[in-house]
Amino acid sequence: MDSEVEYSIEVKHLTKYYGRKAAIQDVSFSLKKGEIVGFLGPNGSGKSTTMRILTGLLTANSGSAFICGIPVSTHPEEIKRKIGYMPENNPLPLDMRVGEYLRFRGKLKEIYRRKLRQRIDYVLELCELGRARRRVIGTLSKGYRQRIGIAEAILSDPEVAIMDEPTIGLDPHQILKIRDLIGTLKGRMSVIISSHILPEIELTCDRVIIINQGFIVAKGTPRQLRDEFLPDSVYHLEMKGSIEALRAQIKSINPKLSLLTEGNCEFTGLRKITLSGPWDGNFGETLIADLAGQPEIRLFSLVHQEPTLEDIFLAATKRSWEVLSEFSDDGVQNPPSAKGGNGDEASPGDRA
C-alpha cells in the first residue's frame, strides 16, 4: 500500500481550537517521500500544534491528517510505527545512559532485538555519539543532547521524521553539525522541521511552509517564495560624485532600478547608496561597467544582496498580519489564503 502513496504527510484543512481560540485554521500541506520541509512561524503561530496533531498526540477539531496514507485520527498506533518524533525542547531522561536510553526507546518502537543493536550502532555513528554511548545524558552538553534527540527520532528508520526546533539553543558550530546531520537524511525519509534558525532551513530544506497566527501564509521553494514576497534584489554601492548623475544612469540601465536609500560614511566620506531592482535580472556587471564610464561618479564598491529566507519570512508574516488586521477591522472572518510559490492561491486540495 505504501508504495502507491505519493505523499508521506498529507494535511487537509486542519483546524484546532484551544477553548475559543483557534491555534491553527484550515491548514493544508503535503510532503513527498524523501523530502525535507521547513516549517516556519513566529512563537505561538501553530507549528507545534500541527506537529503534535501529526504524531497523534492531539486531535484536531476538524480536517484530516495522513501519514503514508494512513489517517492519524483513526489509526494513531499504526502511524506511530511510521514516525520518529523529536518534541520541542527535546525532553530526555537525564539519569539514563545514552546507549541504555536508545535501547529502551528501540524496544518501545518495536525494533527486533537483533536489528536493534545494529540500528543503535548506526545512529550513534551517524550522530557522532559513539564516544558518549556510556555517558549519563544529564552530564552531556546541549549539542550532544540535541543529537541524542535526533538519533532517537531516526532510530527505527521511520518513513517520516518530525522535528520540533531541533537547533534551538545551540551554538553556531553545533547548528552546523545538526544541519549536516539532517542533510544526510535527505532522500531516505521525509523530514519536517520547525525552526527559528532560518539560514539553516534555507540550506537544508527542499521547501518551506510559513505559518502565522494559525494560517499558512506561504509555501514553496525558497526561490518561489523569494519571487512571491521579495521580487526585488538589492545592491549596496559606495561611491563619490553626483547623486543626480547616478539616478539618470540607473534609469538608463533599467527603468525598474530605483534608489532606495542614500547616506554618508563617517570614516571614509563615501556615499552609501542602496539600489533596488528586479530579482530576475543581474545588473551588477552592467552597473560596474556603466558607472565606471561616468566622469561624475567614482565607484568604490558594489555588493549584490539577495533576499534571505529571513527577509522572506518577515515579509510573509508582515503581509499576513496586515491582511488579518484588515479582516478584523472589516469584521470579516475569512482567513487569508496561502500563496503558492507561483503566486496562485492554494486551493483546498492543493499540494504544497
Partner: protein, 250 residues
C-alpha cells in the same frame, strides 16, 4: 500489552537508581520501627484488648497518608512537566500500558517496603517466642489487607499524578483523596443521621467502604469477598480515570 514489561522494567530501574527511593525507604522503616516499639511499650505498660501486631497494622493509615503520595506523585505529573510524556506517547504504546507500568512499579515498591516491616515482629519473636506477643495468623491476615488495600491506595496516587502537571500538586491531591477515603468514611459512619432507619441503604454503603473495619476483619482472620471486590473495582476505576486523564491532558 507487549510494551508493558519494557515500561515496567524502566520504571523499576528509575526507582532503584533514584536516591529519593532509598531516602523514603529509610524514613518509612524508621517511622514504622518506632511505631512498633511504641505498640510494644504500651502493651508492656497496660493490658490491651488487641494483640500488638493488630494495633501495629491498625495504624496502616500513617504510612499510607505519606508514603503513597511520595511514591506516586512524581510518576506522571513530573514526566508531563518535563515533556517526557509526549515523546513516550509518540511511540506505539498506549496509555493503558503506560499507566499500568507506573502503577505496578509503585505497588511492588510499596509491598516490598511493607514486607520489610515483617522484620520487627520476626525480631521480637526471636527473643520472645510467645503467641500473645506475635501472632503469625493475625499478621498474615493484616499483610493480606495491606496487599489488597495497596491496589486502591496506589491507584489513587497514580490518578492524582495523572491529573496534575506539578508533582507538589499531585502529592497534595493524593493526600487529600486518601484522607477523604480513609478518614472521611469513618467520619460519615460516626454521623448520627446515617443510623436512622430511613437511611439504611446509605448506612449499608458507608459500612461497605469502612476501611478501618476491613483491617480489623483481616487481622481477626475474617476473609470476606466484599473487600476484595471493593479494592479491586475501586482500583480499576481510578486507574481507568488515570488513563483518561493521560489521554485527555497530553
Amino acid at each position: 500489552m507487549k510494551h508493558f514489561l519494557t515500561l515496567l522494567k524502566n520504571e523499576l530501574r528509575s526507582l532503584l537508581l533514584s536516591p529519593a527511593t532509598y531516602l523514603a525507604s529509610f524514613f518509612f522503616l524508621i517511622v514504622m520501627g518506632f511505631l512498633y516499639q511504641f505498640v510494644l511499650e504500651s502493651y508492656n505498660r497496660h493490658p490491651q484488648e488487641l494483640l500488638p501486631s493488630n494495633i501495629f497494622l491498625n495504624a496502616f493509615f500513617i504510612p499510607v497518608f505519606f508514603l503513597v503520595p511520595l511514591l506516586t506523585m512524581r510518576s506522571i505529573a513530573e514526566e508531563r512537566r518535563l515533556g517526557l510524556m509526549d515523546s513516550v506517547l509518540a511511540t506505539p504504546i498506549n496509555s493503558i500500558e503506560l499507566v499500568g507500568s507506573k502503577f505496578f512499579a509503585a505497588y511492588l515498591f510499596y509491598i516490598v517496603l511493607y514486607l520489610l516491616t515483617l522484620a520487627y515482629p520476626a525480631i521480637t519473636y526471636y527473643y520472645f517466642p510467645d503467641q500473645r506477643i506475635v501472632d503469625w495468623a493475625s499478621l498474615t491476615g493484616g499483610y493480606t489487607f495491606i496487599c489488597l488495600s495497596g491496589w486502591l491506595f496506589i491507584s489513587v496516587g497514580i490518578f492524582a499524578s495523572a491529573m496534575a502537571r506539578s508533582q507538589l500538586v499531585a502529592g497534595i491531591f493524593s493526600f487529600s483523596l486518601l484522607f477523604g477515603l480513609i478518614a472521611g468514611g469513618k467520619y460519615l459512619n460516626d454521623l448520627a443521621i446515617v443510623h436512622l432507619d430511613d437511611f439504611s441503604t446509605l448506612r449499608a454503603l458507608i459500612q461497605y467502604v469502612q476501611i478501618y473495619h476491613h483491617v480489623e476483619d483481616f487481622t481477626r482472620g475474617v476473609l470476606d469477598t466484599r473487600p476484595f471486590f471493593f479494592y479491586g473495582s475501586g482500583s480499576l476505576l481510578t486507574l481507568s480515570l488515570a488513563v483518561l486523564a493521560v489521554d485527555h491532558k497530553t
